[in-house]
């Protein structure tokens, strides 16, 4: 019989080396929760719904990964559910998404490339809302956030092509976690232009850094787990936060050495202290 204070962590069973991602989150969650935790790894074809439905409704349940989070948030609405390692926000549950918070994005950009004044971001039809509300927040860091809406990938391509013509070293292009309609071909065009015209491209996908973007913010899995564990503790104590789904503050920074040298971003020791992974020049 589970005690009320026990945290149940449900996460997908994936193979190495991806398993490391969930193990780091789970380790953080246990450390953050500080009480007993029960771990349940589910394989690809196992549903969490029946398992959760028999749990004590006072026990917090931390569910990791998109598939499990979607099922539990839909079918177990009466439990104290916290979700993590998810790309999108879910209704009726608390949790942390994989999207870095605007605060963290603006502060890292300011630190790494203080010369940038304008941030351009291309958004899909339903993405503009939260960004528009973030304009003021960026302004506090002296950064002008310019949102370019696009209906679909074709429209986005036209926006990118027009935008590329106008950018210089005072500009940065931000590729959102949702992808900002950027496919391989457009990414290639964008990065080639960023090299030629010395503007910055950054994202929250480390693969973009490998391909030539200046830097990327991506989850610090252990610390994200720690935050999820603390959130679960608060919820177990009925001290739920106001905002149900929160963006990610626990990030790693990876930077492309070749692009940084080209853009004249000098990797001083002070800067390197803020950077977790330098992708070496080839």
């Amino acid at each position: 019989m589970l005690t009320a204070s026990e945290l149940v962590v449900i996460y997908p069973e994936v193979r190495e080396p991806f398993a490391q991602v969930f193990e780091d989150i789970v380790k953080g969650a246990r450390d953050g929760y500080k009480q007993r935790a029960q771990l349940v790894a589910l394989s690809e074809n196992q549903s969490p719904v029946a398992f959760v439905s028999v749990l004590d409704r006072q026990s917090p349940v931390l569910v990791l990964g998109n598939r499990l989070a979607r099922e539990v948030s839909t079918y177990n609405p009466d439990h104290k559910v916290i979700v993590g390692a998810v790309n999108v926000e879910f209704d009726n549950v608390f949790g942390i998404t994989l999207s870095p918070s605007f605060e963290i994005v603006s502060s890292k950009l300011r630190l790494l490339v203080p010369g940038v004044k304008n941030i351009h971001v291309i958004v899909g039809p339903n993405e503009g809302g939260p960004l528009t509300s973030a304009v003021d927040l960026f302004l506090q860091q002296n950064l002008k956030l310019i949102v370019h809406p696009a209906e679909d990938i074709r429209a986005a391509a036209a926006v990118y092509r027009a935008l590329i013509q106008k950018l210089d070293e005072k500009d940065a292009v931000w590729i959102l976690p949702s992808g900002s309609f950027i496919g391989n071909a457009m990414l290639s065009i964008l990065l080639q232009a960023s090299w030629d015209k010395h503007f910055v491209v950054f994202s929250s996908n480390p693969v973009h850094v490998k391909r030539g973007a200046l830097f990327s913010l991506y989850p610090n899995n252990y610390k994200m787990g720690l935050s999820l564990g603390r959130l679960a503790r608060d919820i177990a104590a009925d001290k739920a936060p106001d905002r149900k789904m929160q963006p990610l503050d626990d990030v790693f920074v990876t930077i492309n050495e070749r692009a940084s040298k080209h853009l004249g971003v000098h990797l001083t020791d002070d800067v390197l202290r803020q950077v977790d992974l330098v992708l070496p020049a080839r």
Partner: protein, 718 residues
């Protein structure tokens, strides 16, 4: 019969694979939303390990360098580093007669014992003093404890000192961070191959550790040597005692271990390579004798202390290491079989002795130790410069040489030892084959990496080495790296290097044929390289480089005025030029095709003839395909072309060959993994050149490589 059975196993696996592929594709289409889009977030699996912090990204030296990771090594299904190294462009693994020992042939540089290549384990040389190679009783090196292998083509003495000459092979072992579970595995296959390994890692507070033990036994090969040096002696003396035609003797009984412990700023590493029951290949005197057995015990330990912030913007690393090696004979080493007269002929061409009833026996044993201490400082306080300075001390010693033999001069009587006499111990007498001796080396080095414009980086390095026996040498290098465009990086490289004369070349005595020379200078090389790294899109990486080198003061055994002996002299010179082309095609997230082509023309300047042994052309192709349901297939084809005979060797050219290796792997779950590995899948008769000899080559039909081998492998993580 065995081979037919093998083919039927392969066919069964292939049908299982196809079936699994088809069902996998169907299930992939039906799959709902994924747990997390790892491929979208991190790209390939290597990058996941880097991004999650379990593996450090590798900063390649400004050089023509290749890195092969543990994951790639596993995909290949390799059981020895040589299988991995064959994938490096411009590097071919030739074979020595004794023990089939690996000869790492870079860009046309070859010699008898291959001391022109520096092999490092975790940055520390494993070069032996005796022949300048990795040990006569080498026996290969297994791969389970290896994190990555870094290979630099071209000279690197400015950083690494002696012997970083034609190329540098640095084997980096796994760290505690890289392995999170215990793991074990077994592999069995043809030629009685039986491998087993177990590794563990863990952490307690500030202490973390990794340990691995690997055991490997094999009969090696059943390839036949048609005719050997005794065959020729039989012909000349009327005896009939040769074991040829007979199989190459490549029995191995190896135990390797690697340990690493990290505690705060300290790293302690230790390792061992224990070789027992080692078959001598086609023999030291190019004579087969199936009962000959050698052993070797090699142990290393090193302690490294790092201080990231010694002063502001200055880091320090201090390292001390010790390496102990031996070459030992198990029982007696029969140089020429019982009934042979041995290679002793009088002026008339008649044998001097009657038949040796127990054979001609020589049991040379060598024990070496190597101590090193070094320090380096990195300083980033000057804007746009990264300065490195360092220095160190090395002492190497052959501390014990023993020799028992039944030929030559008996030190007690001063008279020749005659056939039928018992073995005589000539250790510690003037009649031993090599003198016990030591050498030391003091060195200083300096390097500056200067980002003098946004896209231009100049690396300047120089190292000064002073040796107790052959004096001082200074070796510079320059590397200019230009990020030419978004897609293209261009490198201009210049380097010089030296190769320390081995003790066999400086201190060999009492050999009826060759004499050492204490006045030898080191061999030298100068090399110029131009390299391009072009990435037109995400799918393609194209790397090419062009090189020219001038190798001088080559140590060779030159005939003496007396007409019977040869003495080591800095006599040779070789020049070479060529190019290497590499392409990596990332067809999809799951499919990678890699290929490389290397071409070189090297000239023995002394006789103005093409250099021997190394292939002038090499083509390598590899396909690595991750299939649904955690299947993975890896195919590798290696074509070796245009190997020249040494000038004066009248044999037909060595035949070209193509070897195909296949590895099929299935991850059952996070605990179990199975693999089927087929090497030399088409059972090609591939051969490496045997040396020329006087009056004719002793092994005329070259050295055959292993035929088709099928191995099965099970891995278990717990």
């Amino acid at each position: 019969m065995t081979k037919l059975y093998g083919v039927s196993i392969v066919l069964r696996w292939v049908s299982a694979l196809l079936l699994s592929l088809i069902t996998g594709l169907i299930s992939a289409q039906e799959k709902p939303d994924s747990d997390v889009d790892f491929a979208g977030l991190y790209g390939d699996e290597d990058y996941v390990s880097i991004a999650t912090g379990s593996v450090q990204p590798i900063a390649k030296a400004p050089a023509v360098a290749s890195v092969i990771t543990a994951r790639q090594i596993k995909a290949m299904g390799a059981r020895d580093i040589d299988q991995v190294l064959e994938s490096v462009p411009g590097l071919h693994i030739g074979r020595d007669v004794i023990g089939h020992n690996s000869q790492y042939l870079f860009r046309g540089v070859s010699s008898d014992f291959n001391p022109q290549v520096l092999m490092l384990i975790n940055g520390i040389p494993i070069t032996n003093l005796f022949q300048g190679d990795r040990n006569v009783v080498w026996g290969g090196m297994p791969v389970e404890a290896i994190s990555r292998i870094e290979v630099i083509r071209g000279p690197g003495s400015a950083l690494y000192g002696a012997d970083a000459f034609a190329g540098v092979i640095n084997i980096v072992t796994k760290t505690p961070d890289e392995q999170r579970t215990q793991s074990a595995g077994v592999r069995v296959g043809n030629f009685n191959t039986r491998d087993a390994w177990v590794s563990t890692a863990g952490a307690h507070g500030d202490l973390s550790y990794f340990a691995a033990v690997e055991m490997g036994k094999t009969d090696g090969s059943d390839a036949l040597i048609d005719s050997d040096a005794q065959t020729l002696l039989d012909l000349l003396t009327g005896t009939n005692v040769s074991y040829a035609p007979g199989p190459l003797d490549l029995e191995r009984d190896n135990v390797d271990f690697r340990v690493q412990a990290n505690y705060r700023n300290l790293t302690l590493r230790a390792g061992g390579q224990i070789r027992n029951n080692w078959g001598a290949g086609a023999g030291a005197a190019q004579v087969l004798y199936p009962q000959n057995r050698f052993s070797s015990q090699r142990f290393n330990i090193d302690l490294t202390y790092t201080e990231e912030a010694l002063f502001e913007k200055t880091s320090m690393e201090i390292q001390a290491s010790y390496f102990d090696t031996s070459q030992e004979v198990e029982g007696d080493f029969i140089l020429y079989p019982p009934g042979s007269t041995g290679p002793f002929f009088g002026p008339t061409g008649a044998p001097i002795f009657s038949a040796f009833p127990d054979g001609v026996i020589g049991n040379p044993e060598i024990f070496e130790n190597h101590s090193r201490v070094g320090v380096r400082f990195d300083h980033s306080g000057i804007e746009k410069h990264l300065l490195t300075v360092g220095g160190g001390y090395y002492k190497g010693e052959i501390d014990k040489i023993t020799e028992h033999k039944n030929f030559g001069i008996n030190p007690d009587t001063g008279l020749p030892i005659l056939p039928g006499d018992p073995l005589v111990d000539v250790s510690d007498t003037p009649f031993v084959f090599l003198t016990e001796d030591s050498r030391d080396n003091r060195y200083l080095f300096f390097q500056d990496v200067w980002l003098f414009a946004n896209d231009w980086e100049l690396t300047t390095g120089v190292r000064y080495d002073k040796y107790s026996d052959f004096g001082a040498t200074t070796n510079p290098r320059l590397a200019l790296v230009w990020s030419t465009s978004y897609n293209l990086t261009t490198k201009f490289l210049y380097g010089e290097a030296f190769r320390a004369p081995s003790f066999a070349q400086t201190r060999a005595i009492n050999n009826p044929l060759i004499q050492g020379n204490l006045d030898l200078k080191p061999e030298e090389i100068q090399s110029y390289e131009l390299a391009f790294d072009y990435r037109p899109n995400y799918a393609w990486t194209l790397i090419s480089n062009f090189f020219y080198y001038d190798w001088s003061d080559i140590i060779q055994f030159v005939p003496d005025a007396n007409g019977s002996t040869r003495t080591a002299q800095n006599a040779g010179e070789q020049t070479g030029f060529g190019a290497e082309f590499e392409a990596v095609w990332q067809v999809s997230d799951d499919l990678t095709v890699t290929g490389n082509f290397a071409i070189q023309k090297s000239t023995d300047e002394r006789v103005d003839a093409p250099a021997e042994k190394s292939p002038e052309k090499q083509l390598y192709l590899s396909v690595d395909w991750s299939l649904p349901r955690d299947w993975r297939v890896n195919l590798r084809a290696n074509r070796v072309m245009d190997r020249n005979r040494i000038s004066g060797d009248l044999r037909a050219p060595v035949g070209d060959y193509t070897l195909l290796d296949i590895s099929l792997r299935k991850v059952l779950n996070n605990s179990f993994e199975l693999a089927l590995i087929v090497t030399n899948a088409f059972d090609q008769d591939a051969r490496e050149p045997s040396p020329n000899s006087d009056p004719v080559p002793f092994i005329p039909n070259d050295l055959p490589l292993q035929g088709q081998a099928i191995l099965g492998e099970i891995r278990y993580s717990f």
